[in-house]
Amino acid sequence: MITLLKAGLLATVQDLGRPGFRDSGMPVAGAMDRQAMAAANLLVGNDPGAATVELTLLGGTWRFEEEVLAAVAGADMSATLDGAPVGPWSSFVARAGSQLAFKSARSGVRAYLAVRGGIDVPVVLGSRSTYARAGVGGFQGRVLATGDRLPVGAALGSAPAPLVLAPREIPPSGGGATLRVLLGPQDDRFTAEGIATFLSGGYRVTPQNDRMGYRLEGPPIAMRGPADIITDPLVPGAIQVPGGGQPIVMAADAQTTGGYIKIAAVIGPDLRLLGQARSPDLIRFTRITQAEAVRAVKGERDGLARLARRIASGAGGGERPWSP
């Protein structure tokens, strides 16, 4: 068990989400920064998709009720274990009764707390991810609160040695980002100037951002005609543009359908950068081709595989596991 002694801003149990039910209107949910979540899992010897706790901006204080190998990754929340600092991307043995305290994120937004064996909440529709709007999954279907006790699953195989990843092994997070996009599916509903504006102007993250989507603010994107379409499927990363011309980037909890025109979609590997952006960070969009997007997806997978090898070997990281 791990106990949330003092809740931070927002914490939920998340894994890779709940694909397979979008045709029934069920959002996928899952971690907003999947690379950081996977890294936290790899650091404790879990499957990269095991269930973790996603901490948002302020991580709160946790107590370990049993001795367990634990790890943190993602936004740096200045974690301390019984007062001693642990690295922002590191694993450590937590003794029974020890306390892990987080402060607010120095940069970025979301950190992941993994324990060896994973957070053992019930699997609902194939996933342990919390989709709080419908009360599905996670811990009792809801956001975690002070006093909640999360069960730790049984661990398989041998545990890796505790490890602190070097700064050069950690992907950058926070402080604004350039997100790679593929145009479409409704890019033909925008004027050439509108698309040029979208790709050249920077957009600020507004306070209206959450696990469902990020409302951005910047130069209005000019469209041809109305912003409405017949309600259509929507994926995390899709960029909807309502009539005012200000983009909304959909995130992990995106509803499965939407009625606004979509100018483009952020590629999967760059969604973590969105999940680590906060108001008023500046977001820029750069257009890439399908071939470049496929290379980026491969690069993300190769990076995770290298990280897994590096953790298993325990040797110092000679190569950067995360290609740009």
């Binding site: 029934s24 209107g25 017949i230 499927p233 994926v235 990363g237 899709a238």
Partner: protein, 237 residues
């Protein structure tokens, strides 16, 4: 008309029309069935009113090859598709009173009696064009145009699960407690979504749906049985 577009590196959008229409939607569901049955590499398919989203792994199943095969499947659908739902679900609904607080207002807005609103609403076999908005929320085709009413000017922040509502020219059922701006005419004791059931979703896109009026007493009785885990409620003829 077959139009193929991209949504992200792993999403292929197939548009089969540009209208909310039973015939177009029937083709969407026929294509969804064909893709599920025949397209190796389709991880997930998401039907909507007039388009289908096919999700794939862009590394193991590259886009170009899948697009060719999806186009072949779409063009092979033929023009003679009959829009008859494969299954018709009968949904018990208690109209009016506490369960349908807007029924009288809908009657006033349409110039009909509350009884006539119920009769018109319960007459058709609706088509579940798609599920969206919240898990299990059916967007239905087939509402009698005489029942078209404007949405509420101020949406409610909490609508009880099971509420049956009309908004604009559309009607639907709220599966979980959620905000919403449609007018509530009744409520079903059945659960359209229960994640802990073997079949979590009562409805599938493409189904037919019929509303069966029941009394407040029947609502209470059926609601108690649903609460007790009885999965047969509403299935009796």
């Amino acid at each position: 008309m077959v139009r193929i577009l991209a949504q992200g590196e792993g999403g292929i959008v197939v548009e089969l029309g540009d209208a909310i229409d039973d015939a177009v939607n029937a083709r969407v569901h026929a294509l969804a069935a064909a893709v599920r049955a025949h397209l190796d590499g389709a991880v997930e398919v998401v039907p909507s009113y007039r388009s289908l989203l096919v999700l794939h792994d862009p590394v193991t199943h590259p886009r170009a090859g899948l697009v060719r095969r999806v186009r072949t499947l779409a063009e092979g659908l033929g023009e003679t598709l009959v829009s008859v739902p494969g299954r018709v679900v009968r949904l018990p609904v208690c109209y009016g009173g506490a369960h349908g607080p807007d029924l009288d207002e809908v009657a006033a807005l349409t110039g009909l009696s509350p009884g006539a609103v119920v009769a018109l609403h319960a007459a058709p076999v609706y088509r579940v064009h798609l599920l969206g908005f919240t898990p299990g929320f059916p967007y239905l085709g087939g509402l009698d145009p005489a029942l078209t009413v404007p949405r509420l000017e101020v949406p409610r922040s909490r609508i009880p699960a099971g509420s049956v509502a009309i908004g604009g020219g559309q009607t639907g059922v709220y599966p979980i407690e959620s905000p919403g701006g449609w007018r509530l005419v009744g409520r079903t004791p059945l659960r359209l979504f229960d994640p802990l059931r073997p079949r979590p979703f009562l409805l599938a896109a493409g189904d037919g749906l019929r509303f069966v009026p029941i009394s407040p007493e029947a609502f209470e009785e059926q609601a108690r049985r649903v609460e007790a885990g009885d999965a047969t409620v509403g299935l009796e003829p």
